[in-house]
Symmetry: C5
Subunit: 87 residues, 5 copies
């Protein structure tokens, strides 16, 4: 998984029906060789802009949705505690 | 997922029978460390050249086609609203 | 998917039995941040050295072989038409 | 797989229920083009901070947990022996 | 797939039970943007240090082991013939 900061929502009115009702957000990856890379992630645990989060990618992302048929490859799996300083 | 701009169609007359009838397009990734990288994506939601889109990769792409046997690893899952400025 | 040019065959006499009879080729990726990267791909549609091709990676590659038990992670899915100039 | 050094724990109180009880750690990748990249990994074999470990990513990570429904994409699969000097 | 040269064995006494008896080796990737990157691979076809090999990654690696439950994401699938000069 990677750590990232959620920086904004992203809106797509025209999209797969399977994505209806899902919240998509922009996340900026923190640290490492991908530092600053912005990806689109799905959130189902109530994360918000500014939160530092842990993101799972690939088939693992669909495990967060408990529906293997949704075309998603990145999802927030946890919000990093504020007291966690080494991230 | 990543955001990208569709820049052209791509044509392959000789290809897998499973790809018949599928629209393949060239997409240029926006922002991050992959900025400017061009990939080939499959579109089934009517996106066109110039559209900013969200692209899912890996096994997630086949979920867009609702057919897990098609040899595709990247697909447009949504067209980003024009009012969305932070992408 | 990515676009690449096939640059040579590659031979491995000692290999998995599951690869017997499969044609493996070297492909040089075109454009983007991976420009010039050489990977090994499997071809089952009769592509040849010099052809510009579309390559699918990951589990999608095995869909080209119609056998999910073959240990392959990259395959040619189409040969790009010569008239296609933007690749 | 990649080799990495575990550098810290990471805490996420708000997270997927499926992650309850799992230990997540920060790992810094050693060597290669990803040298210094920090990722989040799951550990179930009792590794600790400072240990050099082997990390599997993607669907392989879930094989360590013996539960394919957990949204994890990286896991420690072994602790590298101290006598191993070429890593 | 990628081509690499096997540079050493790697030993992990504390590891997943599922890895018992499997040979893990360090492989240095040849050419392209990942040139010099060192990864850990599983070998079941008798490759040795110094051999140039073809490596499959992701779920394809588990096809080499014929056991989808082993937490491995990279495996040697073939040893490149010495007469093969373009690698």
């Amino acid at each position: 998984m990677v750590t990232a900061t959620l920086i904004d929502n992203i809106w797509a009115t025209r999209k797969s029906d399977k994505l209806n009702g899902l919240k998509l957000m922009l996340a900026k990856i923190n640290g490492g060789t991908k530092d600053g890379e912005v990806i689109v992630v799905c959130d189902v645990i109530g994360a918000g802009i500014g939160d530092r989060v842990i993101i799972a990618t690939g088939s693992a992302a669909r495990r967060m949705l408990e529906d293997d048929l949704i075309p998603i490859d990145a999802a927030v799996i946890g919000i990093i505690d504020e007291s966690c300083e080494s991230v």
